[in-house]
Subunit: 232 residues, 2 copies
């Protein structure tokens, strides 16, 4: 096996906390709309709206804000008062300004690996919001290139490998999403390390059979990455 020449990291829920902010906001959302919605409808409707709107909005907080408003209106039969819609806007603006909270061992590991490998970030989502988080993370200088993409599938990774003149066999992707970070990279013959985050958005979940036959390494947290690289 050729040695790893480049390591790419996912950002949200790999370098820093993200899904938790969505989950907490979703709880506030439920509290705000609760008085106007039948109890049995207070469920997964927001997830469904988001997934329905993905092809129009893409990933990111602004699309999430619009889906919150749409869901609140639909579930309340359009009775949700303007003051409550304004509260949903404020919730979203708080998300956009939420402090970037690095995950455990991220900074020390990135700092350690930076001298040994070119490091990349490959993250999907809203360009403006991702750039803002990367800047606020304090980590930007450790990465030789940063790619913000609208989707992370085989075609995306194929394009990025070509663009950076990398061979899949010498490329390692580290991320929390089996669907976005592990499976497409393995399918191209690359290496992947899966570091699960404690919650995964329903849209990012895979059934076990979709991963069958692909070899990838699961690590508990980022501190285990250097040792894993050494024994490759």
């Amino acid at each position: 096996m050729p040695p790893i020449q480049t390591i790419a990291f996912d950002a949200d829920d790999t370098l820093w906390v993200n899904e938790t902010i969505f989950t907490q906001t979703q709880e506030h959302f439920t509290d705000i709309i609760r008085p106007y919605v039948r109890a049995e409808e207070l469920g997964s409707q927001l997830d469904q709206t988001q997934i329905r709107n993905l092809s129009l909005f893409g990933y990111g907080i602004k699309g999430f804000m619009l889906s919150m408003i749409e869901t609140g209106l639909e579930l309340s039969d359009y009775r949700l008062p303007g003051t409550h819609i304004q509260q949903l806007l404020e919730l979203g603006k708080e998300m956009l300004q939420h402090p970037v909270q690095l995950l455990p061992h991220v900074e020390e590991t990135i700092r350690q690996l930076e001298g040994e490998y070119p490091l990349m970030i490959i993250t999907k989502g809203d360009l403006f919001d991702q750039e803002s988080k990367i800047a606020r993370s304090g980590l930007a200088d450790y990465f030789s290139s940063i790619e913000i993409v609208s989707e992370k599938n085989q075609e995306t990774y194929r394009r990025l490998l070509r663009k950076h003149s990398l061979s899949a066999e010498a490329f390692l992707m580290v991320g929390n999403s089996l669907k976005s970070d592990v499976l497409p990279v393995c399918q191209l013959g690359g290496h992947a390390v899966h570091i699960p985050f404690h919650t995964t958005w329903v849209h990012e979940q895979l059934t076990p059979c979709q991963l069958e036959g692909y070899g990838y390494q699961e690590l508990e947290n980022m501190s285990q990455l250097p040792a894993y690289l050494q024994q490759l």
Copy 2:
């Protein structure tokens, strides 16, 4: 003067119609909120909200949708009914799906220049929406590289020139915005062609003194670009 080696094009209102779609939507927005708003307040409030929100939302339609909702709520003292908020969401979704209408002479000019120069797109805005428009424009294959950025200032162009190993003296930017396409490129010592679109968003307008002393060429439409390049 060294010959031009790379030509980059802005996209919105340079390759295809954009501002018109915002202007038309703004008229529909005014019609929707009119019954709930004092007449004297039906003015430039939406522009002001958008500019106030730029640092949080960046450019693009999703941010515009959120700013429409916020403005409608504020101007109506939060009395705008849910059904009307839903209409604003629908307006925005129509914008996101609006057919891409190429500007006159764009396709023939791009096709003609493609054999002679590497062509780039440098456009700012929402990653997902811009990618979707580039794909739908049918022009993607003419461009050797496409850069979607969150802001177009000197630092952006400096970074892109470095990334693509281009010298400013051999780089020409073509666009409709003096602020985003012309001024920062001229400041770096590059070349710029300004092709005005009939409307320019207030945030993109410059005062004449900001451009004083910089040489750039103004053309009426894209068909004049090849002749201009020949006489350089």
